[in-house]
Symmetry: C2
Subunit: 296 residues, 2 copies
């Protein structure tokens, strides 16, 4: 059994992959996220032939959340209190494991992505802690510390960080239904669209919205740095791919730290410290593959 | 060799202890922090007789910072870029190890305190991640995740978190020389004294300053919760001992999370989630003892 299955379970689509490594991908598909029953059935249909051929050792899942990661809980492996219609308390792990009958690992989408970046990118080995941040429709932070993903009471929810919001500079109220102007409320794709009246990907490169966006991301990044002292921050997700944004974030983070963290990496090599994903847009699903490998 | 040495190296005093456990403390002393030479000499003088009698297996140090925790660095075990006069680039670990000639462990004061709370308090076992927050002359956050203290590029500097500051409500500019109104700039003892014109311990129990203080602490705690999902937050330090503050912080944290983190602990048992130290004011030095035990 030389292959592993990876599932990046997102609110819009499930990305499914069979692979031995990023260099040996056997099959890959994207399944639209409809009802839990249909989506999980189609996911299992994709992997099932590989199981029947005896080629699949294990499957890893990196899921949208909130999820239950407590292995002693009755709802371990469930998507829990999501606002997504029909998906509340969906037994995702169980739905895959009962059909495929092989070991299944489970974590959040962002922890899977963080683990994938650590596991597959040689230059990330020994960069611990490593944080993976996704900035797109939502904002999430995955953390690897002391060799493993960080879990606790529930799991990280980095998008909801409370950060300074100067309402004179930016009167936008914020978009988060729970906290209004938390990081996610100010800086996701939908927040940008709502503030500026058009989708983020249609904002011109020199639109002042990008400086404001970089400021909010950088404010949050200083908090990540103060609380983890990470060896590297990987910035992925749709919004973060906008041309020039990474460089703005690097510079603004350096400015906001204001020399407090006396590290050569931050003072002189910020371009190697805050980086785009080494795995491109596949950090999540290849992270799920890495999680599966840990089970075998 | 049944005993271990612990040093809580602070900017005002060094607390030194010889013990086997919190229930078997053999000797304890407090040495004022003067020059590095004098302070380290007096510290060594305290431990030396126990070493000569062959009773001391190892020493642990929890130090004020910034410190260098990178074991491959030339300045490992040094206090580095501190603003404290005379202490810049002081080889604290080396100064102890060269004289005592036994194994010496080294970490930050807050990581030592967090480790001490995990190691010695039975009900904290398996509460991982666990965060220890000190709120006093400064603010610091120590983190244990996946069984070990979190280190990275440098170490955590949780006091400098960027948090919302409503200048209409609180026109105080902030006290931090690097970031002005970061958490530490708004909520340390000296910030309170500067804002209200008298020392924090002289503010009446019903002074509105305590509600504001609880709000800033709670804002920062929501960020700790979003980034670590800790199993427990231990709140120590001089300011945090003010009567009623813990309860205000518990309530305000719950309010600010606003039901987003669906955990029984937060929704119904916040009084067991945010707690004062199980080791009282000795978390740091007993944590240093725990670090020493790990070496033996």
């Amino acid at each position: 059994m030389k292959y592993f299955g990876g599932i990046e379970a997102g609110g819009t689509k499930f990305v499914c992959m069979v692979a031995a490594s990023p260099d040996e991908i056997v099959a890959e598909t994207k399944i639209p996220t409809t009802t839990p029953e249909e989506t999980i059935k189609r996911t299992n249909d994709f992997f099932s032939p590989f199981v029947l051929k005896g080629e699949l050792a294990a499957v890893g899942i990196g899921s949208f959340g909130p999820v239950d990661l407590n292995q002693h809980s009755n709802t371990y492996g469930f998507i829990t209190t999501t606002p997504k219609p029909n998906w509340r308390f969906t037994d995702l792990l169980g739905g895959v494991q009962r059909r495929l009958q092989i070991p299944v690992g489970f974590d959040t989408d962002v922890n899977a992505a963080a683990f994938g970046e650590c596991y597959w990118i040689p230059e990330n080995k020994n960069l611990d802690p490593l944080l993976y941040v996704t900035i797109g429709t939502g904002i999430g932070v995955g953390a690897i510390a002391n060799g493993k993903p960080v879990h606790g009471l529930v799991h990280t929810e980095g998008g909801h960080l409370a950060i300074p919001h100067d309402k004179n500079e930016d009167p936008f109220e914020g978009y988060c239904p729970y906290h209004r102007d938390c990081w996610e409320g100010l800086a996701t794709g939908p927040a940008l669209a709502s503030r500026w009246g058009k989708p983020a990907n249609l904002l011109e490169d020199d639109h002042p919205g990008w400086d404001l966006e970089a400021k909010y991301i950088a404010l949050a990044f200083t908090n990540l740095i103060y609380l983890y002292s990470p060896m590297r921050i990987v910035m992925g997700g749709g919004v973060s791919q906008h041309k020039g944004l990474l460089q703005k974030v690097q510079l603004k983070t350096q400015q906001l730290l204001n020399g407090y963290v006396q590290s050569d990496m931050i003072l002189n090599h910020i371009d190697q410290y805050i980086v785009n994903p080494g795995l491109g847009t596949r950090s999540g699903v290849l992270g799920a593959i890495a999680i599966a490998r840990q089970l075998a």
